[in-house]
């Protein structure tokens, strides 16, 4: 649970970063005497100074794709997204990592900062230029952007990190185990326990709010015998992570996560032998499978108390294979468009099903290929706007993708990057000399002294072809 003061600092900090971004954008087009600019500066100062005073100094630092204030990661609402993006990019362009406020500031301090910031943007060595121009400033100091090897490890002590991973794994496997239990119960005519289902989803929401990457990375593993249950949990995690990007609150995320967890509950009517069979389905089996959205409606209304969460789950169960253009199943007579949650969950469902060999197709498709197939369907079968957010979330190279780097290294995508979808963190498994290794984890958004990326992805490899078992690296 997050401390109140921590939350408060995060909230004010998000506003400060947003306001800074607005000022810099305005300053790029207006004179320093412009009224709008002066007003914006006043507002920034009114936000900053109280914080500087209560915290006895404030440091803003860009680490990876996130801003930290006095070592607390700043979370921000959706409406700030564009401004945060802008500021991140401008900081990186200048090699600027931290801005440090030791004393309360006045408008002149900010004007000096703006001038240094803008002028340095045109310079060959932007950071040095900026440092030189800020030299006289008493109240604002800056620091260089730090090279990050493993920023999460820097922020949290190593043992803490292992603990976090353990807890997250526990949360994930609890959810799978619970789902398995629910399916078993319903099959034997018992009622599923909605109270417990909520608890399971709530703990996943907590983990996502704490660090979405960790839980997401667990969805990349596909080699489980009872994949049906893992699939339901994976879809739940992917949907909630997407919901989080869309700005849904905790309660809404819970409903979304529950609906996703139950999206395939109708499969209880399909015998296990069919579900888990290693070969393709026959026509008759397909006919049966196509009824699972309807059996799901019956199952959910059968065990859930009639309420908002139940209704949402019913809708998702019915709609998750319908496609936005209603070209899927079940076929309908009189129907309006698909519900938001159904469209979110359809994306997560397709993605997870296509990347595994156990849901519908028997040959898995690599994550990046799956995304390009889905891209073709965006706008017809899939929601194009939500797809954009989805790809931004999983990254162009989702966790688990095998990538070849231009440094002649081969690695596994380990963690997505929110600001730069094509520059994730990668776990190196073969080094530049062609030797099998286990690490390090490198960040592809890292640049060298000349402002060039140190590593870039050249291409992706087919995991089937090279038989890499992700579980070895991720569990």
């Amino acid at each position: 649970m997050v401390r109140e003061d921590k939350k408060e600092i995060q909230k004010i900090s998000a506003e400060i970063i947003n306001q800074t971004s607005i000022i810099l954008k305005t300053a790029l087009i207006h004179e320093s005497t412009n009224i709008a600019l002066r007003k914006a500066i006043e507002k920034l100062i009114s936000l900053l100074n109280p914080l500087i005073e209560t915290e006895k100094g404030v440091t803003f630092e860009l680490i990876g794709e996130f801003f930290y204030v006095n070592n607390i990661r700043v979370r921000y609402a959706l409406e700030y997204l564009l401004n945060f993006d802008f500021l991140t990019k401008e900081f990186r362009k200048r090699g600027l990592g931290s801005v440090i406020f030791n004393n309360p500031i006045n408008p002149e301090d900010i004007q000096m900062f703006i001038k240094a910031f803008i002028t340095s943007g045109l310079s060959e060595d932007p950071y040095d230029k900026m440092l030189e121009m800020m030299d006289n400033s008493q109240n604002i100091k800056i620091d260089r952007l730090k090279k990050i090897i493993e920023d999460r490890l820097k922020k949290v002590g190593e043992s803490d990190d292992i603990d976090t991973r353990r807890i997250i794994k526990k949360t994930y496997f609890n959810a799978v185990s619970f789902t398995k239990g629910v399916m078993k119960k319903i099959r034997s005519g018992e009622r599923a326990d909605m109270k417990k289902a909520k608890r399971i989803v709530e703990s996943m929401v907590d983990q996502l709010l704490e660090d979405e990457h960790l839980l997401l990375s667990l969805t990349a593993l596909k080699d489980y015998d009872e994949y049906t249950y893992h699939h339901m949990v994976n879809v739940s995690v992917l949907s909630m992570a997407l919901g989080l990007r869309l700005g849904l609150n905790r309660m809404a995320l819970t409903e979304l996560g529950l609906a996703a967890l139950f999206h395939d509950i109708g499969k209880i009517q399909i015998p296990n032998e069919v579900l888990n069979k290693p070969t393709s389905f026959t026509d008759d089996e397909w006919k049966m499978i196509k009824k699972h959205p309807i059996w799901g409606v019956k199952a959910i209304l059968g065990f859930g108390r009639f309420g908002s969460a139940t209704i949402r789950s019913v809708i998702v169960s019915f709609e998750h294979h319908m496609n936005c253009d209603l070209s899927g199943y079940p076929q309908v007579k009189k129907y309006s468009g698909l519900d938001l949650y159904s469209r979110i969950i359809a994306l997560a469902d397709q993605y997870d099903a296509m990347t595994s060999s156990r849901v519908y197709s028997r040959t898995p498709i690599p994550p990046d290929k799956t995304l390009s197939i889905m891209m073709e369907q965006a706008g017809t079968k899939l929601d194009s706007l939500l797809y954009k957010f989805f790809i931004n979330m999983v990254g162009i190279f989702p966790v688990g993708t095998i990538v070849m780097l231009n440094t002649r290294e081969i690695g596994l995508v380990y963690e997505g990057n929110m600001a730069f979808a094509d520059r994730p963190k990668v776990l190196i498994v073969i080094d530049e000399k062609g030797k099998s290794v286990r690490g390090p984890i490198v960040n592809l958004s890292e640049k060298n002294e000349n402002g060039k990326y140190i590593r870039s992805i050249m291409k992706t490899l087919d995991p089937e072809k090279y038989k890499i078992n992700l579980a070895e690296y991720f569990l």
Partner: protein, 551 residues
């Protein structure tokens, strides 16, 4: 403070909590006992936080500990606070210095909740999670969510998953092969535009709308395929009923109207099977059931805004089955505005089935009966009179009065015997209503009944006001010579008797003559103008003035 002193203090706080748990269950939040208990408990916390940053309770199955000392124990399962937390996996509960009274109240509300009734789908942990208290933290053990074999799942699954060994050799080969082809692909970078964000905001806004219509759409889609699916019809019927119930409980009458209209569509559809039609017909009458009508009443009484037109349309879905439950609702309602709505519904339905409506006059609650009668009067259906007559001896005076008022509007000759009986009712008000009602019927028989009563010896014993009413009623036969005769006789009769009761009847006769306005009465009236009896004289003068001016 000493260790033991500390423990004693915390024990005291916990006792305060258990006490508050009982008190808050019994009293509403505005009750002084409720407020006092809450404040007392809060003050204890505040006192504790004067020298400590936080207060942690460790939860065992039957015990609660502070600093490894047991401060609560209960062996029985009933009303066991430790078990209450423990069973949902709560293992530690920490209150922090910043705790506000609102937070404490929120916490106490959670632990006083009747989970069977108020939170069927939530447990203590979920409620704490939802409230997200800033100054109340907790630690839970999630294994309570799993069954015994479920607990080992992680180990089993991880072992399985790790079994396939990665083929590093193969990958090393790929290292040589793949780097030869320098086919670096440019990946398109996706960036968000302002337009994307606006459409997203709109999506989220739209999503806040009710999902009930969507749910019923889905249920009807399944209905189209009921035959192919086999055996699902009864379930869908039940779900549709649940949908109606749910909608009503949220005041969403529109959804119900729409749902019922779609059900009608299935009945009219030639492709529907008889089975489907049968169920849809049952669905059509569901809104008129006790269950739904009671809920309807409850919702109307709640302070939520419901469109009047929606209520009107909903009422049109009801049939006569709704009459009796609606009348029950009428008896329970608290707000006046809402009573009007229900009365409207009953007028609408009563027109279709006056009998069922009228039969409810037997209700023991006088205000309900009064409402029913006023509804019957508004409908004005004479067939209701039969039921009114049956209730004319109702034990409640107010009911008897209302019944008589109703009869006076709807009834005829056939009501006279019962009305006549009421002229001797124990209550003067009822007697007055009865004489008025008889007057309203206005037949010769009616007239004779009144004359007979007035002529009766015991009439003298009645109150002056009541007597006046009898005579006032007589004046409706203003062209009847018999009445005129009777009045003048009354005025002349026994004028030598000087007791005041006699004067009262004369005064009444004078009053009636005045009301009739026949000039022929003037000479007689002048004669009585100065009788010396103040009452008689006054009334006579008024009557004279009235007749002279009126003509």
């Amino acid at each position: 403070m000493e260790q033991t002193e500390d423990t004693n203090f915390v024990k005291d706080i916990l006792q305060s909590i258990t006490k508050a748990r009982k008190t808050l269950r019994m009293y509403p939040p505005n009750n002084p006992m409720y407020i006092k208990t809450l404040e007392e408990t809060y003050n204890k916390f505040k006192e504790f936080f004067e020298y400590k940053e936080d207060l942690s309770f460790r939860i065992g199955q039957d015990s609660i500990y502070f600093d490894s000392e047991e401060i609560y124990h209960k062996a029985e399962k009933e009303d066991n606070l430790a078990l209450f937390f423990f069973k949902d996996g709560l293992r530690e509960l920490t209150f922090k210095k910043g705790l506000s009274q609102e937070e404490l109240e929120g916490f106490l509300k959670i632990i006083t909740m009747d989970f069977e009734k108020e939170a069927e789908d939530e447990d203590v942990v979920t409620l704490l999670w939802q409230r997200d208290f800033q100054n109340i933290n907790y630690i839970v053990d999630d294994t309570v969510l799993l069954d015994v074999e479920g607990e080992d799942y992680e180990l089993k699954a991880v072992n399985e998953a790790k079994q396939a060994v990665s083929d590093i050799e193969g990958l090393l080969k790929a290292y040589d092969e793949e780097f030869k082809e320098e086919d670096v692909k440019e990946v398109p970078i996706i960036s968000f535009t302002d337009k994307d964000l606006t459409s997203l905001m709109k999506e989220l806004e739209d999503d806040a709308e009710s999902k009930i219509d969507k749910l019923s759409d889905i249920l009807f889609e399944i209905l189209y395929r009921a035959e192919e699916l086999g055996g699902i019809l009864e379930d869908i019927f039940r779900f549709l009923k649940d949908t109606i119930k749910f909608s009503i409980s949220y005041g969403d009458f529109k959804a119900v109207i729409q749902l019922i209209n779609r059900a009608k569509g299935f009945i009219e559809d030639p492709y529907s099977t008889d089975e489907i039609k049968k169920y849809m017909k049952l669905l059509l009458i569901y809104p008129s059931s006790d269950e739904i009508i009671n809920l309807f009443g409850e919702v109307l009484d709640r302070p939520i805004k419901i469109d009047d037109n929606d209520i009107k349309e909903f009422i049109k879905l009801l049939d006569k089955r709704a009459i009796t439950p609606l009348i029950n609702v009428l008896g329970e309602l608290k707000t006046f505005r809402v009573r009007e709505k229900v009365v409207e519904a009953l007028i609408y339905l009563g027109k279709q089935d006056i009998k069922t409506l009228a039969m409810n006059i037997n209700d023991l609650r006088w205000y309900v009966v009064r409402s029913i009668i006023s509804i019957i009067r508004k409908i004005g259906d004479k067939r209701a009179n039969e039921y009114l007559l049956k209730s004319i001896k109702h034990g409640d005076i107010r009911v008897r009065k209302e019944v008589i008022k109703g009869i006076s509007e709807l009834g005829g000759e056939e009501s006279l015997p019962q009305l006549k009986e009421r002229l001797d009712d124990v209550d003067a008000g009822v007697r007055i209503e009865a004489v008025r009602a008889i007057g309203n019927i206005g037949s010769i028989k009616a007239k004779n009944i009144i004359l007979e009563k007035i002529s009766d010896k015991s009439f003298k014993e009645r109150d002056f006001e009541e007597k006046k009413e009898f005579f006032r009623v007589l004046s409706r036969w203003n062209n009847d010579p018999e009445i005129f005769d009777f009045l003048t006789k009354t005025l002349k009769k026994g004028s030598f008797l000087w007791w005041s009761k006699n004067y009262e009847e004369k005064a009444c006769a004078v009053l009636c003559l005045g009301l009739i306005g026949n000039k022929e009465a003037l000479p007689l009236l002048y004669k009585h103008k100065d009788s010396g009896n103040k009452l008689l004289d006054e009334l006579t003068q008024t009557a004279i003035r009235r007749i002279e001016r009126g003509s």
